[in-house]
């Protein structure tokens, strides 16, 4: 099958190019990461990140035939009709909107800076109990669909608002994590957290186009979390 991969080495290349490879998959429905490993055997100069190879670590987020996803859990048959059969090329590019370090490896600094801004850790000013802060099953259930995020950046780098203002708009991943702590019954920094989100960019650059929802490899819904934060801001502000 034909594989077309974005190649760029800032030290030697003047501009990025797409390089074609012919890979023999023996007709198997491999994962995209398996195909990348086959290419790496042919061309060891290819750079990409991967670690757990089972959709847990979030290292191999990339743009696969136009849609962000994790290479390790995206099968060829799910990329697009005809890719597995070799009728259509598999096209791999780095996550859009972030600076390219090399080939499929991007610099995630801007993404992590926004994550840091939501202070993603429990904050509670009351004295700590002797053993632990308890939650009812109902309170714990509110964190489902929020805590599972693996920070692969597929969502934020599929979001045009994040492309245009990656320094000001937090992006879906950071906002999902922001809500994860706003929704936690053990956290009481709600007011401080909300006060940092009511400017015109941090949260309100979300126009609800739901690219984040359509690409999330863990099936999470950042748009809904952003809606919940907006409701909290409304209740606080009116």
């Amino acid at each position: 099958m034909k594989v077309s991969i974005y190649r760029y080495n800032p030290d030697t290349d003047r501009e990025p190019t797409m390089k074609e490879y012919d890979v023999d998959t023996q007709g198997k429905d491999l994962m995209v990461l398996d195909v990348l490993n086959l290419v790496k055997e042919m061309d060891p100069s290819l750079g990409f990140r991967r670690s757990c190879r089972e959709g847990v670590c979030g290292s191999d987020g990339m743009n696969i035939n136009g849609k962000n996803g994790l290479a390790c859990i995206t099968s060829l048959s799910s990329v697009a009709p005809g890719v597995k059969e070799g009728k259509k090329a598999l096209v791999l590019r780095p996550l859009p909107g972030l600076p390219v370090v090399r080939d499929l490896v991007v610099d995630m600094t801007m993404f992590y800076n926004q994550y840091e801004k939501v202070q993603p850790y429990l904050q509670n000013s009351t004295p700590a109990p002797a053993i632990e802060r308890l939650q009812s099953p109902e309170e714990r259930a509110k964190l489902d669909g929020l805590y599972e995020c693996i920070l692969c950046a597929c969502c934020s780098t599929s979001c045009p608002s994040f492309w245009w203002n990656p320094d000001k708009f937090l992006g879906p991943a950071a906002l999902l994590q922001g809500y994860r702590f706003l929704a936690d019954s053990r956290d009481n920094a709600t007011e401080e957290r909300l006060a940092r989100l009511d400017d015109p960019f941090s949260l309100f650059r979300c126009h609800g186009i739901m690219n984040c929802v359509s690409v999330c490899p863990k099936g999470l819904n950042p748009t809904r979390a952003i809606g919940h934060i907006r409701s909290m801001l409304l209740e606080r502000g009116i």
Binding site: P160, D198, D199, P200, F201, H207, R230, G237
Partner: protein
């Protein structure tokens, strides 16, 4: 160190305020146009005198004033978003702030002219 994001050119300098204005103005514009459409359908043989009496009545003058103000506010919030998305250092480099400020001021002045012109037309009594 986390710095707060601020903006002096957005309508309310606050995201929640702008968001609310955008929604409320959309409702005003929507209700006005549905009402206008209903009136036009209900008046198939509309003549100048009937139209003038309808549009010149005080309730319609107030409604049309609300419409003009809503269109201006809605346009400002929307185009402010467009200018801060596309007229940035990514597209214009170092001159981005100047370009954005000029475009925003032209839009603001145009909207002001439209509002004043609208008010004169609605309340001028010609």
């Amino acid at each position: 160190m986390v710095t707060r994001v601020t903006s002096v050119t957005s309508l309310g300098r606050n995201g929640l305020y702008d968001w609310l204005i955008q929604r409320v103005s959309a409702v005003v514009i929507g209700v006005y146009f549905i009402g206008m459409l209903a009136y036009l359908i209900a008046q198939p043989n509309l003549d100048y005198g009937t139209w003038k009496a309808f549009i010149g009545s005080v309730p319609m003058q107030i409604a049309t004033t609300l419409l003009v103000l809503s269109v201006a506010a809605h346009t400002w919030v929307g185009l402010w978003g467009v200018t801060t998305d596309y007229l940035t250092s990514l597209t214009f480099g170092k001159s981005a702030t100047g370009v954005r400020l000029v475009v925003q001021m032209v839009i603001a002045l145009l909207l002001l002219v439209y509002v004043l012109w609208g008010l004169v037309t609605i309340w001028g009594g010609a």
